[in-house]
C-alpha cells in the first residue's frame, strides 16, 4: 500500500469519505477552505453530497438536519465561523445527533489572521454553546492523523450520539506529508431514532426542547452519564521519553511537533525532558497526568494561546507540581531554538 503526499486539509476529506461521511456542508474560510475544496471534488465524484451553504449558521443547521435524517455529515471551519455555529452545537448536543466538525484554528480574536493559533481550545473543549454539554475533541498533529481521526470520528459520533470536533490548526491543515489512507471503507448503519421518512421511523422526534423541568433535568443527567462513559472509554494520548523524565512538555497539535524536535536537543543538554501529547482534549487524559505528576518535578504546557490548556492541567493535577506556561499568540509559532533556549534557561541544563 502506498503513501500519498497530501495536505492535512485534503487528508480530512479523504478520511471522511472512507469513514462513511455522505454529506459535507461548507462555507469558505481560510485556513480551512481546502477541506471544502477537496470535498467539492471527491464527494460528488463518489456519489456523496457536497453543498456550499450561505453561512456557517446555515451549515450547522444543515448538519443538524442531515444527522437527524441518519446521514454521516460534517463541516470544516475556523475562528469566526466556529463562533457562528455555537447555538447549533448546543442543539446538536441536546438532540444527541452524531456529526463531525473540523476547526482549523486561526489567530483571533475578531477577524484575527490566518496563521495558526490554539485559541479555540476552551470554547471547543467546553462545547462552545449554552448549557451543560460536552463534545468529543480530537487533536491531530500530522496529516496522517488528520485523515485517521476524521476516519474514526464518525464511528465515535455514532456510537455515543455526539458531535466530534477535530481541533486542528493552520499549519497542520496547510502542510503536506505522506499519508497512508485507510484500506477499508466504513459506513453508518440505520439508527433507530433517526428520521428516514418512512413508516418505521414515523414516530421519531428530534428535539431539544423539554418544557418540563423534571424531564429537562433527566435529559441533563443522561447526558452527564454519557460523558462519564466517554471519559472512561475514549482517552488517548501519545508519550515520548516520559519514563525517566523530570520535566514534561504538555502540548497538542503543531506545538507538540515543535516540542518534539526541541526535546531531542534539550535532552542533549542533560535535562531529562519528555513530551505528553493529548490526542483527545475532551475527554482529557486526567488520570495519566496525575500519574505523571507524581513521578516528575514539573510540567511545561506549551500552547498557542493564553494558557487555556495550562488552566486545565493545573486543575487536573490540583497544582501538585509547578506548571510552567509557554504561550504564543497572533499566529506566531515558536522556533525550535526559542523553545530550547527558554527551556534550558528555566530548567538549568548544563
Amino acid at each position: 500500500m502506498s503513501k500519498q503526499l497530501l495536505k492535512g486539509n485534503e487528508a480530512v476529506a479523504y478520511g471522511a469519505i472512507m469513514g462513511g461521511a455522505t454529506h459535507f456542508f461548507g462555507y469558505p474560510i481560510t485556513p480551512a477552505s481546502e477541506i471544502a475544496h477537496k470535498a467539492a471534488e471527491i464527494f460528488p465524484a463518489t456519489g456523496r453530497f457536497f453543498m456550499q451553504a450561505e453561512s456557517e449558521v446555515s451549515v450547522i443547521n444543515m448538519l443538524y438536519g442531515a444527522a437527524a435524517a441518519g446521514a454521516r455529515s460534517m463541516t470544516a471551519s475556523s475562528g469566526p465561523g466556529m463562533s457562528l455555529m455555537m447555538e447549533g452545537f448546543s442543539y446538536i448536543a441536546c438532540a444527541e445527533l452524531p456529526c463531525v466538525v473540523v476547526d482549523v484554528q486561526r489567530a483571533g480574536p475578531g477577524l484575527g489572521n490566518i496563521w495558526p493559533e490554539q485559541g479555540d481550545y476552551t470554547t471547543v473543549v467546553t462545547g462552545g454553546g449554552h448549557g451543560n454539554y460536552k463534545c468529543v475533541v480530537l487533536a491531530p498533529n500530522s496529516c496522517q492523523e488528520m485523515c485517521d481521526f476524521t476516519y474514526r470520528a464518525f464511528e465515535i459520533a455514532d456510537k455515543y450520539r455526539t458531535l466530534v470536533f477535530i481541533l486542528s490548526d493552520a499549519y497542520i491543515g496547510q502542510m503536506m506529508e505522506p499519508v497512508q489512507l485507510p484500506t477499508e471503507m466504513k459506513h453508518g448503519e440505520r439508527k433507530d431514532w433517526a428520521l428516514y421518512a418512512d413508516k418505521e421511523s414515523r414516530n421519531n422526534l428530534v428535539t431539544s426542547i423539554f418544557m418540563n423541568q423534571k424531564i429537562m433535568n433527566d435529559v441533563n443527567l443522561n447526558l452527564q452519564k454519557k460523558y462519564r462513559k466517554i471519559e472512561e472509554e475514549l482517552v488517548e494520548y501519545e508519550e515520548v521519553d516520559v519514563e525517566d523524565a523530570e520535566y514534561i512538555f504538555i502540548a497538542f497539535g503543531i506545538t507538540a511537533r515543535v516540542c518534539l524536535t526541541a526535546l531531542k536537543k534539550i535532552r542533549d543538554t542533560g535535562i531529562k525532558i519528555g513530551l505528553f501529547r493529548p490526542q483527545t482534549l475532551y475527554p482529557f487524559p486526567k488520570k495519566r497526568l496525575n500519574e505523571l505528576a507524581k513521578k516528575c518535578k514539573g510540567f511545561i504546557v506549551a500552547e498557542l494561546n493564553a494558557g487555556q490548556m495550562a488552566d486545565e492541567v493545573e486543575l487536573t493535577i490540583n497544582c501538585k507540581i509547578p506548571v510552567l506556561r509557554y504561550n504564543w499568540f497572533g499566529g506566531t509559532v515558536p522556533s525550535i531554538e526559542e523553545v530550547i533556549e527558554r527551556t534550558v534557561a528555566d530548567l538549568g541544563g548544563k
Binding site: M1, M18, M62, M176, D198, R202, L260
Partner: protein
C-alpha cells in the same frame, strides 16, 4: 367555520403534550390549530403521511410535533429551511414541511429562507404571518403594522423607528427559482377553503418534485392582539389583508418539471472508491536503506516562479522513496510581497516541527530570497542560486554555493516557468539525496495540466545536461 374530521396524519390524543391530551396548547381563536388541521388533511389526501417530516420552528408552533403523526424535527430559531435542505438532500422521496412564524422566517431566519428558495429546494414552506411574536409575549414582528401596539412598540410601530411591515410573499416572488408562491388568509370560511387548496397545491408540488413552494398565511393571534377571537378575525380582514394582499403570486407548477430535484449522484462502491483514491494501487518501490542527512530546505522566490510546486515535487520525491517529508507553505500577504517560500523537511526519522527557520538547503530563485535567508543557513549547508536573475554572489564562506542560470535554461527549453523544475532537478543531482528518476516518475502525476508534462520532463533532461557539463 370549518368542519374538522380527524385526519390520519394528526394524533388522536396528544401524548407528547402531557396533561390535557385532548386539547391543543394553542390559545382560543389562534390560527395555528386551523392551519395544522388543513396540513394534516392534505397529507392524508396525498397519502404521504409515512414519508412526511415536519420541521417545527421556534415560536408558538414549536410543539407542532404534539400533533402531527409524522416524522418530526424541532429546529433552531429561523433555521428550518437549512435543516430541511439537508434532510431533502439525504432523503430524495421525503415530504418535508417547514412550518414557520413571522419572527422565525421574516426576522431571524431571512438568510435561510431566501437561500433555500433561491436553490429551488423541493420543499414546502408554510409561513404563518400573525404580525407579532406570539410565544415570547407579543413583541414587534417584521410584519407588525404601522401603528400596531406591541410590547416593544408601546406607542405603535412607526416608519422612522422600525421601517415598514415586510412582505414575505413579495420577496420570495422576486426570486426566480420558486415554483409556487401564494398568500392566503384565515379571515373567513371562504378564505380558509382557499388556504386549504393552496396548502394542498404546495404539497402536491413537492410530491411531484417540482421545487420550492411557499404559502404565506395571514392568521390571528387574539391573545397578543389583545382581542376576542371573533374580533381578531375581523381585525385580520380589515387591517392585515390590505397591507398583505391575499393572492396567488406565482404558480409554475404546470410548466415546470425540474429534473434537478433528483439530487442523487451515481454511488461509487467501496472498491470503486478505493481505486479512485489510489488505495488499491500496488506497492511502490521503497528504496534501499541508505543514510541521509536530514534536509531542512527553504525553497524561495517570487510568486509565479513555482516555488510552492517545486517544494511539493521535492516532498513527492521523498514520499516516493519511502522517506518522511513535510511541506509547509508561507502564504497570505507575504506571498504578495517579495518572497513566497515553502519549508520542506526530508528525513529518515519522524519529523517534528515542519517549520524551517534555519535551513541547511536554501534555494533562492530571486534576489530578495537570498537576502532574506542567506544568513540563516546552517554552516556547512548548501545554497542554490538562480544566477539568471540573482547577480550577487554569496558572501559566506562556510556554505556551498551552487550558481545555475535556471531561468535562462528554462527559456532555452521553451518555457521560463519551468525554472523551478530545473532548480529542483539540480538540487537532486547535487545533493544525491534522492534519485533524479524519482522526479521523472512523480512529475507526471503531480502536474495538474497534463499538456505541460512533456515540457517539464524536458526541463529535467536540461538540468542533467547542465549538471554534467558545469557542476559535476
Amino acid at each position: 367555520m370549518i368542519k374538522h374530521t380527524k385526519s390520519k396524519s394528526f394524533y388522536d390524543t396528544f401524548e407528547r403534550k402531557g396533561p390535557g391530551q385532548k386539547v391543543t396548547h394553542y390559545c382560543p381563536g389562534c390560527g395555528h390549530g386551523t392551519i395544522h388541521k388543513l396540513i394534516a388533511q392534505a397529507l392524508d389526501e396525498l397519502d404521504v403521511q409515512d414519508r412526511t417530516i415536519v420541521c417545527s420552528p421556534v415560536g408558538c408552533s414549536v410543539f407542532a410535533y404534539y400533533y402531527f403523526d409524522t416524522g418530526n424535527i424541532q429546529c433552531s430559531h429561523g433555521r428550518a429551511p437549512a435543516v430541511a435542505t439537508a434532510m431533502r438532500r439525504v432523503h430524495d422521496d421525503a415530504i418535508i414541511i417547514c412550518y414557520q412564524g413571522d419572527g422565525d422566517l421574516a426576522g431571524i431566519g431571512t438568510t435561510e429562507i431566501i437561500h433555500a428558495a433561491n436553490r429551488g429546494e423541493n420543499l414546502t414552506v408554510f409561513f404563518v404571518n400573525n404580525a407579532i411574536y406570539g410565544m415570547t409575549g407579543g413583541q414587534m414582528a417584521p410584519t407588525t403594522l404601522f401603528g400596531q401596539k406591541t410590547m416593544t412598540t408601546p406607542t405603535g410601530r412607526t416608519m422612522a423607528q422600525d421601517g415598514a411591515p415586510i412582505g414575505v410573499a413579495e420577496i420570495i416572488n422576486a426570486i426566480k427559482s420558486p415554483v409556487y408562491v401564494e398568500r392566503t388568509s384565515l379571515g373567513t370560511p371562504g378564505k380558509i377553503q382557499k388556504t386549504r387548496k393552496a396548502i394542498k397545491q404546495a404539497l402536491q408540488n413537492q410530491v411531484e418534485k417540482k421545487g420550492f413552494s411557499l404559502v404565506e398565511i395571514l392568521a390571528p393571534c387574539p391573545i397578543n392582539w389583545k382581542m376576542e377571537p371573533l374580533q381578531a378575525r375581523k381585525w385580520l380582514q380589515e387591517h392585515l389583508e390590505p397591507v398583505f394582499p391575499v393572492k396567488q403570486f406565482r404558480d409554475n407548477s404546470d410548466e415546470l418539471i425540474q429534473a434537478q430535484f433528483s439530487t442523487k449522484l451515481p454511488w461509487k462502491s467501496d472498491e470503486e472508491v478505493l481505486d479512485y483514491f489510489g488505495v488499491n494501487k500496488e506497492q511502490k518501490q521503497v528504496k534501499q536503506e541508505k543514510e541521509i542527512e536530514e534536509q531542512l530546505v527553504k525553497f524561495s522566490g517570487f510568486g509565479g516562479q513555482g516555488v510552492m510546486l517545486g517544494g511539493v515535487l521535492m516532498a513527492n520525491c521523498a514520499t516516493e522513496e519511502g522517506l518522511n517529508a513535510t511541506w509547509l507553505p508561507s502564504y497570505g500577504p507575504e506571498m504578495r510581497g517579495g518572497t513566497a517560500n515553502a519549508s520542506i523537511i526530508i528525513s529518515q526519522d519522524s519529523i517534528g516541527s515542519p517549520v524551517v527557520d534555519f535551513p541547511n538547503v536554501l534555494i533562492a530563485m530571486n534576489g530578495p530570497s537570498l537576502d532574506a535567508f542567506e544568513e540563516k543557513v546552517h554552516a556547512g549547508g548548501t545554497i542554490l542560486v538562480n544566477s539568471s536573475i540573482v547577480s550577487q554572489k554569496i558572501s559566506r564562506s562556510d556554505v556551498t554555493a551552487v550558481y545555475i542560470p535556471v531561468s535562462d535554461l528554462a527559456s532555452e527549453v521553451g518555457m521560463i516557468a519551468g525554472a523551478n523544475i530545473i532548480m529542483l532537478a539540480t538540487y537532486l543531482l547535487v545533493s544525491k539525496i534522492m534519485d533524479i528518476n524519482t522526479l521523472r516518475k512523480v512529475l507526471p502525476e503531480s502536474i495538474k495540466k497534463k499538456q505541460f508534462v512533456d515540457i517539464n520532463m524536458k526541463m529535467i533532461d536540461k538540468a542533467e545536461e547542465y549538471f554534467k557539463e558545469h557542476l559535476s
